[in-house]
Amino acid sequence: MKVISIAQFKGGSGKSTTTVQLATTAFRALGYRALIVDTDVQGSATKWRARRQAPAPDVIQSTPDRLEDTIRQIRQDAGLCFIDTPGHDWSALAKAAVVSDLTVIATRPSEFDRETAVQVVAALRQFGLRHLILLTQTPHRRSSKLAVWEEAHARMGVLAEPALTTLQAFQDSVTIGLGVEEYEPNGRAAHEVRVALAWILDHLDGGRR
């Protein structure tokens, strides 16, 4: 089983939304036995699962302290595990990162978010932990401003392509316990998640960059 944690110290960067979207697309579009481990006390992924009719991907709750044991217990049950992490908690972020094969830092194109991501990236790099940066909630239209943000983030490390734009489908789908792959499979949001997931999995296997 491969483990991917979705992290960022800053709150509101779209960690839970990104987690459930990646897991649903991994299950629906790529046929992975995908699982979500929710370590956030807010329980957004857990609540999403409660609204969901489909059996997979399942969501397992775990405290950051019990995370290592939880991962050990589910190792045989899934091919791909996504860990949703809380914001504002460096201990929880660290516990998720050390049990993960890859940490995806979900971050918005803003200076406050970038400043925070820089600190997390620096620490992960210091410990030799694989990570990449995924821009979330970016504007719909490509612009020079976005290109500058992309360049600034690419300087910090590996930047996943493409970014996830601000699309209503992301929020609408999770409201009814779905992923965009199920809610609007031919829409732009579903396409973005598929491409981003393929990129992440490629990076996880060491196939790119």
């Binding site: 110290f9 290592e68 460096w90 201990s91 972020l93 660290a94 516990k95 990162a97 050390v98 049990v99 200076e111 970038r114 400043e115 925070t116 820089v118 600190q119 997390v120 990236v121 620096a122 620490a123 992960l124 790099r125 210091q126 410990f127 932990l129 490509r142 612009s143 020079s144 401003k145 290109a147 500058v148 943000w149 360049e151 600034a152 300087r155 910090m156 490390g157």
Partner: protein, 105 residues
Amino acid sequence: MSSRRRADQLAAAIRSNFEARPAAPPAHPAIASDEVKRTTFSAPSAVIDELRHLALRRHCTMNALIRAAIEDLLKSIRHGDEVAVSPADCERIKERRRPDGSDAD
């Protein structure tokens, strides 16, 4: 090293990075300020100052900022959008040029 101990050390490192002021990533240092400022782009000094300020705030080089702006402009032109630079602007800029091609500002 156990993963619990490693996680504790990583958490301490993240915390320490946040508490350090000014924050600086060790392996990918911020762009050196002279690199940010270096550009062959010629423009009035007020424009250069503004670009430098923007580049420093965005942690990118001035050249990256200019390249991104040009790409954006070309995209708008290709899409048939109205662009901010009019033929009159071009004439005005040309008039301010010295005979050797440098800007008169």
